[in-house]
């Protein structure tokens, strides 16, 4: 029997100090980021089976204008099974902005790439300290669930609780503006230097691609290769991409349904059916009673959930991102056009934290793994200042549901309450360079539309885009094909991905039965 080799972990030396200047610390020469090994938290021990260890990196909260306050970034190191492996490790940012690392689901990357893998909770999230959670906003879940999308009052309530969260964190000494993309990228570079890694590979799952892209922009010389699953890019702020991505994904769905005879018979025109559904629901909102949903269960009483066109649109966008829901979407839209809210939509609505589904990808919008404060800082500082309001208004195409959800986007108002200054203009510009990049997208993902990825890839000299058929957001988490393509490419990143034969076997099979 062989014990876990802790001394193969984060290092025999528990305290490592960065010994050079000109690092991710932004030139602040009076401070040296330091790395300490710590015992892994209990939730990590429960989830991670391969040999691993944990630590935290101490960095400046604000590298430019700070007062010396330090924060900690949590890191898990996972060893590959084989002792012989390439020297360049991989760092994985395993989630969307505001989310902690997907620790249990990220550990397999060490074995799959035969490399040491580092998983980090970006500053402000998960086990990193401080954590910028907003329980004030969680308290609004039932109000948002029962309100219509067109309800201005609930948006005002949202703005108020966002402000309350901001003010509480500020009163605790937290510089909320420092939890932005640029500083998170500098944390990554500080970690590389603290661990003495000459060069490494970077991976992201979801919208934390923004952090990786900033690393590529600022510290490209230490990056061997980058893969991104379902990424966002700095040149397209999320409030604009939400509309563009939803239109694109719905067209993808309409095309796929039209190409499948039984689906075409059920819903001849998906986009037209959705328009009929939202119009009908705006005129006559549907209601249902939630007894078992998370929000009702938390309250200990049933909730009457109301659904108008905007709420349906949010459910549709959310479902397009969730691969398991895509097959039932045409049927759900067809039912809604008849005024009926079917089970999949009901399940999303009765589980949905305040203004989550349809705005933010994934299923983890609340709880200990999500920090709304980080999400808001990245949104309000690095994206909203670069929104083209005129283009956004045009993109709504006069559709009332789009106007309610994306034109009156509650996060745009929330950014008035989340008082952070705009980032430098460069944060809204495309990343260029010659680092090899593999971008994986899902055929129906409204959060990371393939054409946007292709446009972003055109700015990079060695970037490749692979769209995975039948998939929504997070293609590495659904099926073996994307994983195989990624694994083979990381071994030879100087070449285009060549293990794409599995794509031909993938497709979507729509649910057209009565259930």
């Amino acid at each position: 029997m062989r014990g876990k080799s802790w001394r193969d972990g984060l290092g025999v030396v528990a305290l490592i100090v960065v010994g050079c200047t000109g690092d991710g610390s932004g030139g602040n020469e009076s401070f040296r980021p330091r790395f300490e090994e710590i015992a892994c938290p209990s939730d990590v021990e429960i989830q991670v089976l391969p040999r691993h260890s944990c630590g935290h990196l101490t960095v400046l909260e604000d590298r430019v204008d700070g007062n010396g306050r330090t924060i900690q970034v949590f890191v898990v190191k996972v060893l590959p099974p084989q002792d012989e492996h390439p020297e360049d490790p991989v760092l994985v940012l395993g989630g969307n902005i505001g989310e902690a690392a997907e620790i249990g689901g990220g550990t397999q990357v060490a074995a799959r790439l035969n490399r040491i893998a580092y998983l980090i909770d970006p500053r402000g999230t998960g086990h990193s300290r401080p954590r910028l959670a907003c329980p004030e906003v969680d308290a609004l879940d039932d109000d948002v669930a029962t309100a219509l999308a067109s309800d201005d009052d609930v948006r005002e309530e949202f703005e108020a609780v966002v402000k309350a969260c901001h003010d509480r964190l500020a009163s605790q000494g937290v510089n909320v503006a420092a939890y932005d993309t640029e500083q998170a990228a500098a944390d990554v570079e500080d970690l590389r230097r603290a661990l003495g890694i000459p060069a490494w590979n970077l991976g992201s799952l979801g919208t934390q691609s923004r952090i990786l892209l900033e690393v590529m922009r600022s510290y490209p010389e230490h990056v061997r290769a980058v893969y991104m699953d379902s990424p966002e890019f700095p040149q397209l702020p999320d409030p604009e991409e939400a509309v563009i991505g939803t239109h694109w994904a719905l067209e993808q769905l309409a095309d796929a349904c039209a190409a499948a005879p039984r689906c075409r018979h059920l819903v001849p025109d998906v986009t037209r059916a959705l328009s009929q559904a939202t119009t009908r629901l705006d005129a006559h909102p549907a209601t249902f009673v939630s007894r078992d949903g998370a929000i009702a269960a938390g309250l200990g009483q049933p909730l009457v959930i109301r659904v108008d066109g905007g709420k349906l649109l949010r459910v549709v966008r959310s479902s397009l991102g969730l691969t398991q829901w895509i097959p039932s979407l045409p049927r759900m839209i067809a039912a809604a056009a008849q005024g009926t809210i079917t089970a999949p939509a009901m399940e999303i609505l009765e589980e949905d934290p305040a203004f989550c589904s349809g705005y933010r990808p994934g299923e983890g919008c609340s709880g200990p793994d999500f920090s709304l404060g980080v999400y808001l800082t990245v949104l309000c500082r690095d994206q909203v200042p670069f929104v083209d309001r005129s283009a956004l208004a045009d993109s709504l195409r006069g559709d009332a549901a789009y106007q309610a959800v994306f034109g009156s986007n509650p996060y745009l108002d929330a950014c008035l309450a989340w008082d952070v200054p705009a980032a430098d203009g460069v944060m809204g510009e495309p990343v260029t360079g010659d680092v090899p990049v593999l971008i994986l997208t899902g055929q129906f993902d409204p959060h990371s539309p393939t054409p946007v990825a292709e446009e972003a890839a055109s700015k990079l000299s060695r970037a490749y885009v692979v769209e995975i058929p039948g998939q929504g957001h997070n293609v590495l988490g659904t099926g073996d094909c994307a994983v195989s393509i990624r694994n083979a490419w990381v071994a030879r990143p100087e070449s285009p991905p060549d293990a794409t034969g599995c794509l031909a076997a993938l497709s979507v099979s729509f649910a057209t039965g009565s259930k």
Partner: protein, 201 residues
């Protein structure tokens, strides 16, 4: 032309081929989606149970950690775990054939022959029926006495679920498992539906 403009004006898309409907496959997918919500709730319950057990067994140190949001204080010498990746008594290659009686097997198209190699380095090598298209690589197991834990299918059909815990017994050329804690029905079906037979070391 900007992304925004190109997309608004209608861009060319390469639409992948869509295969004809397959009712069985779609029922599998929709069934899994419904189960996914229930499993998330179950997983939360199991996680709470683990934490409660940890507090009971780990005493004040674990309690302090939980009160601090789950973060333990830095220590110089972490205590090694008693469990180990891989185990000589289990190392080897085993096969079994799954019938389709179990709903989880049907939903995930898992019926057919499975071969699992338990490697000495703690890695599982899994060969599945062709219809099962989920990821099979990179998963681990660890052994502690007669108990066995694995994160098999953690990134796919057991998404967001904790590792499963089993007791195991090897008798002659046969290897059997019994569930102790297992939030994932598909994984439980794979390990408990029938005895595994040794294919060699």
């Amino acid at each position: 032309m900007s992304i925004d403009r190109r997309l608004r004006e209608g861009f060319e898309r390469s639409s992948p081929a869509i295969v004809p409907n397959d009712q069985a496959a779609l029922e599998r997918v929709t069934g899994r989606a419904r189960r996914h919500v229930m499993v998330r709730r179950a997983t939360t319950t199991v996680m709470v149970a683990f934490v409660v057990a940890g507090v009971a067994l780990g005493g004040p140190r674990v309690l302090d950690a939980l009160q601090d949001g789950g973060r333990l204080e830095p220590v110089q010498e972490p205590t090694p775990s008693e469990t180990v990746p891989g185990d000589a008594a289990l190392t080897g290659t085993y096969s079994t054939t799954l019938g389709d009686e179990d709903p989880a097997v049907r939903e995930n198209q898992m019926d057919g022959e499975w071969t699992i190699t338990f490697r000495s380095d703690g890695l599982l090598e899994v060969s599945s029926p062709e219809a099962f298209q989920e990821s099979r690589s990179g998963y681990s197991f660890e052994v502690s006495g007669d108990q066995f834990r694995t994160d098999l299918f953690r990134t796919d059909v057991c998404n967001d679920m904790l590792p499963g815990r089993y007791s195991w017994q090897r008798s002659g050329d046969r290897l059997t498992f019994e569930v102790l804690d297992e939030p994932c029905q598909a994984r439980a079906a794979l390990f408990t539906s029938g005895p595994y037979v040794t294919q060699g070391l």
